[in-house]
Amino acid sequence: MIKSLTKEQEAKLPEFRDKWLKIGLATGPVNRKAAEEAIDLIYKVGGLEPPKIKIWLRSPLEGCIGAAILNQVWDQVRSQVKDQVRNQVWGQVRDQVGNQVENQVRNQVEDQVRNQVVGQVWDQVEDQVWEQVREQVLSQVWDQVGSQVGTQVWGQVVGQARNQVIGQVRRQVKDQVYKCGYGAHDANWLGFYDFFSSPDLLEKTTKPLKPMQDLAHNCGWWWPFEGAVILTEHPISITRDEEFRLHHDSKMALEYPDGWGIWAWHGIRVPKEIITEPEKITYDDILDEQNVEMRRIKLERYGLPRYLKNVGAREVARDERGVLLHTDRMNEWPGEDRDGARYVLVQDSSTDRQYALRVAPYVQTPSEGIAQTFGLTEKQYQPIQEA
């Protein structure tokens, strides 16, 4: 049982955090040969024959589509994906696999088998290691390593890159997103175990994970099948803001070699036009936007002073919670209050972002407005902590 970390071990935590952040956010060409060797070992650790067919695709989207093809759910996917993308991937899969092999794969691979393979690899490797490490490490140590390596890497790699990619892919191809290994995007837990892999800690216990750690260096998302595997490339570029959120004000914040990727504004995925053509946003767009995050971004891209001026909003009241604004501009709209619309402009205490929340037209102060958004009176709304 490891009861505590030595000073020397503790001093290494930031090193592991940085190492795995680098792996998780790596860009550029991968070493395919190294990745394929790692894949063979992963299968072996899982008690399986290494896959003969290794298909490389260029992005998680292509990977999802490729996996769907191999899963014979092509008909379901067809309607969800644009022809152009579909044909490209289709061609690529065909080229690499060849018609004959492809038929063979199609015949051999069924959902059942695939799940079994994934489950088997997972059971053999991840679960066992997790349990064993947990048993051998006192909870304080676990938490300490977890917060320094796991959580921080999680925030930047999983919270930003991986979840954003999942969100974007999920819109386009639903089914395959959770049925894969994430390669570099598994950096958080791989890094966590990597810390314990030094000879003075749990070298032997964590050894089965070594191939997965090696794979993370040279592979993005991957889909294991019996006899075949789909591997994908790293992004060609990732740009982030000073708080490590995906962000770029003129190009994709995360871009893969096939040109697919993510447009993001301070960590929020947005349609391309919001980034490339902010001047085309109108104040009607902003008022019409139902989603508050998107409204905030549109407002930010449009410019707050310009927006307020354009809607003719006037300041009604101001207190420590924000500014209450009133506009009569929407009075003539169907279904609108004749008393006009009131918004509270607030600053988020964690992110410093400015939000506009609509409140009832009879609200008199920003504090009253905020309390009301939680169904409380101004007197009742007394949070002792706001984050």
Partner: protein, 97 residues
């Protein structure tokens, strides 16, 4: 009473009998951002759900994590999770983030 973004944690005397214990710790997930309010993995706390409202039973102090917001620490006890609502002329609508 503690607040984290669009969630307000309000202390209650009990969790409704009908509430179902959840096996995960995800309290709320942003539709646009994919960001989650969630119980910290090691937290000695359980998440319940009754009629669409989340409740938390914290045996010890429970950390609530979010990708963007600072962590919130709930003292032991029973908590109702209120989601922020925005006014519309047609009625209240849950704030989407």
């Amino acid at each position: 009473m503690h607040r984290q973004g669009d969630l307000l944690f309000v202390k209650v005397s009990e969790i409704p009998q009908t509430a179902e214990k959840q096996t995960h710790g995800i309290i709320a997930e942003g539709e646009v951002t994919g960001h989650k309010h969630q119980l910290s993995p090691g937290a000695q706390a359980a998440l319940y759900l009754a009629a669409g409202i989340a409740y938390i039973e914290a045996i010890r102090e429970a950390k609530i994590l979010h990708e963007e917001h600072k962590e919130v620490i709930l003292p032991p006890g029973q908590w109702e999770v209120r989601r922020q609502q925005e006014y519309t002329p047609a009625g209240w609508r849950q704030v989407e983030d």
